[in-house]
């Protein structure tokens, strides 16, 4: 049975694509070793426009733009610059149109000029320690490494990089207020089960860069003011303990540098301009290897597309209901579909979870690789 795959692995080839939001300048080269905070490229994004009506001030409906226009697309113009001029009805009297503010001429159309009044410079960092294996023109790069990779469920705030500090003893624990001190500053903390706003604000006050937990309450997505701390949840929304399997891998990464991306894919479909389509993830890379070319370019932005079938002995994870995030192994596959406790009959498999053996529909499982 082919199942959606989720990578939860302490030693996996990692290949990530780092793209600029708009074409710009790539600052690294193929074969170059980079660190997580290395800026791999920068671009300028237009952020505000002004429409300049040319037709009305010149008192003409039918305009020959080629004749009246005095600037070209891409030109930078100061405020009060003449951008178009035409002879008026009175001989020797010229009418003109000037820019209200400084900016770039973004587009010229029949009767109007679009002025780009603000640009924001955007820098993209490498996100992981690794080697640049490919430069994608003026759009970005592919970076490869090896290390731990955990595809998470959701999160918010974006990307962070820092030393991992474990502050709970088990995946079922929550970080209690007052637990943090100065040693948490600039780290990414491994927080166990879940986190609430109070604890998040405390982490922010200690300059914590990021938090990894099992689950997050959805209310944290709409915090006002928003927090600067990046949060990634391995299991989902609500109050769900972190999978002990994941907690084990993360515990082994204590005091090592990790990269996290807090992002919720369920929101990615929202048209909010330039969206980072990459999913929530936790990465910890080892010593960068040379450019071997032996890695396949699979971006962790989407679920891994490996096609190995799940069978008896495969490790699987539940992705529905009260057992969300619980991992087990496939024990047997019945020939006929069975019913869930709710009475829905669906093809599935018996999965061994510690001491329990339960029938789980295939559609409620993903394969852990």
């Amino acid at each position: 049975m082919q199942l959606p795959k989720v990578t939860i692995n302490s030693n996996s080839p990692i290949s990530i694509r780092r793209l600029l939001p708009v074409p710009g300048e790539v600052l690294v080269q193929t074969g170059q070793k980079v660190e997580a905070l290395t800026v791999i490229g920068r671009a300028e994004m237009p952020s505000r426009y002004r429409v300049i009506d040319v037709a009305r001030p010149l008192g003409q409906v039918q305009l020959d733009m080629a004749e009246i226009i005095q600037v070209a697309e891409g030109d930078y113009v100061e405020a009060n610059t003449v951008v178009a001029a035409a002879k008026g009805n009175v001989p020797f009297l010229q009418r003109s149109v000037r820019t209200p503010v400084a900016g770039y001429i973004a587009a010229i159309g029949p009767g109007w000029i679009l002025l780009e009044t603000e640009r924001a410079e955007v820098e993209v960092q490498a996100f992981i320690n690794g080697v640049v294996t490919r430069v994608l023109g003026n759009q970005g790069v592919i970076i490869e490494a090896e290390g731990a990779m955990i595809e998470a469920a959701c999160g918010f705030g974006g990307e962070a990089f820092g030393r991992l500090k474990r502050v709970v003893n088990s995946p079922f624990d929550v970080v209690e207020p007052g637990t943090l001190d100065e040693s948490a500053s600039e780290t990414i903390i491994l927080g166990g089960r879940t986190i609430d706003e109070e604890m998040l604000r405390e982490a922010e006050a200690w300059h914590v860069r990021g938090i990894i937990v099992g689950s997050i309450p959805a209310s944290l997505l709409e915090l006002e003011p928003p927090t600067k701390v990046r949060v990634v949840a391995t299991e989902g929304f609500g109050d769900v303990a972190m999978s002990p399997y994941i907690f084990g891998i993360l515990t082994s990464l204590s005091r090592r540098d990790v990269s996290i991306r807090g992002q919720s894919l369920h929101q990615a479909g929202k048209p909010k301009g330039y969206i980072n389509q990459d999913g929530p993830i936790i990465l910890a890379t080892g010593v960068p290897r040379g450019s071997s070319g032996s890695y396949s370019v699979t971006s962790p932005s989407t679920k891994s597309t490996g096609k190995a079938e799940a069978g008896i002995g495969s490790r699987v994870r539940v992705i529905q209901g009260k057992m969300l995030g619980v991992t087990g192994t496939i024990e047997s596959i019945p020939l006929e579909p069975q019913a869930t406790p709710a009475g829905i009959i669906s093809p599935g498999t018996y999965v061994k979870f510690n001491n329990d053996l339960l029938y789980i529909p295939w559609v409620n499982l993903e394969q852990v690789i």
């Binding site: 082919q2 199942l3 959606p4 795959k5 708009v22 074409p23 237009p46 505000r48 426009y49 002004r50 429409v51 973004a106 587009a107 159309g109 029949p110 009767g111 109007w112 679009l114 469920a153 959701c154 689950s215 309450p217 959805a218 209310s219 989902g236 929304f237 609500g238 109050d239 919720s264 894919l265 369920h266 929101q267 479909g269 048209p271 909010k272 301009g273 989407t302 679920k303 891994s304 597309t305 490996g306 096609k307 992705i319 529905q320 209901g321 009260k322 057992m323 969300l324 019913a339 869930t340 406790p341 709710a342 009475g343 829905i344 669906s346 789980i360 529909p361 295939w362 559609v363 409620n364």
Partner: protein
């Protein structure tokens, strides 16, 4: 004549295949097969799921249908294959549409209606009658990331300059789009301006001009705009599904969008039987409601933001969480419900494990139906003679009464309405099958497609709790007569088995109207039995749910038990332990 037809429906989560064959001169459903849909990772080939579903049928009938290379064998010969293969699809993302027009309540309202005919997601609405600045409009179109811009406005011979102004805004914005395919503009405004549109927009992006959707203020003509949007959905979305080209090459019949096939079926049922028919298709990515009202054109709305799985996150933005929460007969905080629904949106193909999970999904279905039917049917709600439900959430209900109650609560039919469910998962396909062989679709629709749930009798109005709302008398014959008084606020079942007919006499009290437009007036009707029998819904219309949580939970529990729906909650489990 086509004697055997293999049809497949590629949904967002499930792919279903059916085999219809002529046996002794009559078309009959031979077998069905299901498999997960495979257009997305890890498969990324829509045909894998189709092949898997067909293999289930092969096993059942013991005849090869697929060639060794994987495609369906057509035409049929003695030992293998089928005469025709046809596919419908609702898989994949909807078409992103930015709607631009002059006046919110006139041309823009029509444009939104046109967009709702197929799988579209309206990402931005830009109008000239609001307070938006020109720069704001540019920004809105950019943020909408349109694949299609639907430009409307101006009656024929009416407004010109504002429409030209809008076209110029679009022209400006197009120059700023840096990545991806250029959107297509569908112009459906003042016909006189087509040349101007070609001059302004033609040089910068693909432009398609169609009939004005509002040729006069009092006339709406959505046909051409809808058709164009359907074509663009096919071209820009459906054909881009991984493996789609291969799938198309397997058949001489074009792959049809599910919504189109479903609408054809509902229209046929209404027109052929002279009934008011409403069809509810609850999908993971979208919800479609199609209706055929006597003497009118068929209508249909597809909301890609009102699906119960893939588009649940969008639905959560449209519908406050309290509305979903009000349908739960057990204690769960709205915050926790919201968390659980977001988890469902992360894993939309999952199915409920517990009764509580199931009731949460059914709460979502009720609100999705309410949202869509509000856009389709203007008040007052017509009296539906037949209501049909399809989609896994309904047809896969462990208890038929659960599906019936979701449909009733979602649509709130008044009067006397027959209820039917898509029995074999083939209802969506019948419209497409009709193109291959109309008789096959007609026979299957008449005999094998539907599970008759029974008849719901629902008077409109409100009374005093605990006091009678109506009296019903059901006569199965001269000797077998049952009379029952039903109290306001309750919902009850009267047994009338499948295949049996009875005369039903309904006498509402003076506050209730059974669809005759006159409260208190009685009616007599011939009704057919069904799996559930006759449902007497005396809860009143519109439905009123108690404001107090505990009171409402008791109310819902009362309704569930009225229809014989059993369920276990974690509270009852705890008590048993």
């Amino acid at each position: 004549m086509t004697k055997s037809i293999l049809a497949a429906e590629c949904g967002s989560t499930t792919t279903t295949a059916v085999l219809i064959e002529q046996v002794d001169g009559t078309y009959t459903l031979r077998a069905t097969g299901q498999a997960p849909s495979t257009y997305a990772a890890p498969w990324e080939d829509i045909t894998i799921g189709v092949q898997e579903a067909i293999r289930h049928i092969e096993k059942h009938i013991g005849r090869p249908l697929l060639a060794p290379a994987g495609w369906p064998i057509t035409p049929q010969n003695a030992q293998q294959g089928v005469d025709a293969f046809v596919t419908i699809s609702s898989a994949g993302e909807p078409l992103r549409v930015v709607v631009t027009g002059l006046i919110q309540n006139i041309s823009l309202a029509s444009a939104l209606g046109a967009a709702a005919k197929t799988y579209t997601q309206v990402t931005k609405v830009v109008s000239l009658d609001g307070t938006q600045s020109q720069e704001g409009r540019v920004q809105a179109i950019q943020e909408g990331r349109p694949e299609v811009i639907l430009l409307v406005g101006g009656t024929d011979g009416g407004a010109e300059l504002p429409v030209i102004e809008l076209a110029q805004v679009i022209s400006m914005t197009i120059r700023l789009l840096r990545d991806g395919e250029l959107p297509t503009v569908v112009y459906a405004g003042n016909t006189k301006l087509r040349t101007d549109m070609a001059d302004i927009l033609g040089p910068v992006l693909p432009l398609r001009s169609v009939k004005n959707i509002r040729p006069r203020l009092d006339v709406e003509d959505l046909t051409e705009a809808q058709l164009e949007l359907e074509q663009l959905y096919l071209q820009k979305k459906m054909t881009k599904l991984p493996g789609f080209e291969k799938l198309s090459n397997w058949s001489k019949y074009s792959v049809m969008p599910v919504s189109q096939s479903f609408e054809k079926l509902i229209a046929y049922l209404g027109q052929h039987n002279d009934l008011n028919v409403i069809g509810l298709s609850l999908g993971s990515r979208s919800t479609t409601i199609s209706a055929q009202i006597r003497g009118e054109q068929p209508t249909s709305i597809t909301r890609s933001d009102a699906g119960v799985g893939h588009s649940l996150a969008s639905l959560l933005e449209l519908v406050p969480i309290e509305k979903f929460h009000r349908w739960l007969p057990f204690d769960l905080s709205p915050e926790e419900l919201y968390n659980q629904l977001l988890n469902k949106s992360l894993h939309p193909a999952t199915i409920p494990m517990t009764d509580e999970d199931l009731m949460i999904e059914q709460a979502v279905a009720r609100e999705a139906l309410k949202l869509v039917v509000q856009s389709l049917v203007k008040s007052p709600n017509p009296q539906w003679n037949l209501m049909i439900g399809t989609g896994r959430l309904l047809t896969g209900s462990p208890q038929a009464a659960q599906a019936a109650l979701v449909m009733i609560d979602g649509i709130e039919p008044c009067g006397i309405t027959s209820l039917a469910l898509d029995k074999n998962g083939l209802v969506n396909m019948l419209g497409a099958i009709a193109i291959v062989e109309p008789m096959a679709a007609v026979k299957i629709a008449a005999q094998e497609a539907f599970l008759n749930l029974g008849t719901v009798v629902a008077p409109a109005g409100h009374g005093t709790p605990g006091k009678p709302a109506l009296t019903v008398k059901i006569a199965l014959g001269e000797d077998e007569i049952e009379e029952r008084e039903v109290l306001y606020g309750s919902i009850e079942l009267i047994d009338l088995p499948l295949g049996k007919k009875a005369t039903l006499e309904v006498r509402p009290t003076r506050h209730f109207d059974v669809g005759l437009g006159q409260p208190g007036r009685g009616a007599v009707a011939e009704v057919e039995g069904g799996l559930l029998g006759i449902i007497i819904d005396a809860r009143g219309r519109p439905l009123r749910l108690a404001k107090d949580d505990l009171e409402r939970q008791e109310q819902l529990q009362h309704w569930l038990s009225g229809l014989g729906i059993s369920y276990a909650t974690s509270e009852s489990d705890d008590q048993q332990q």
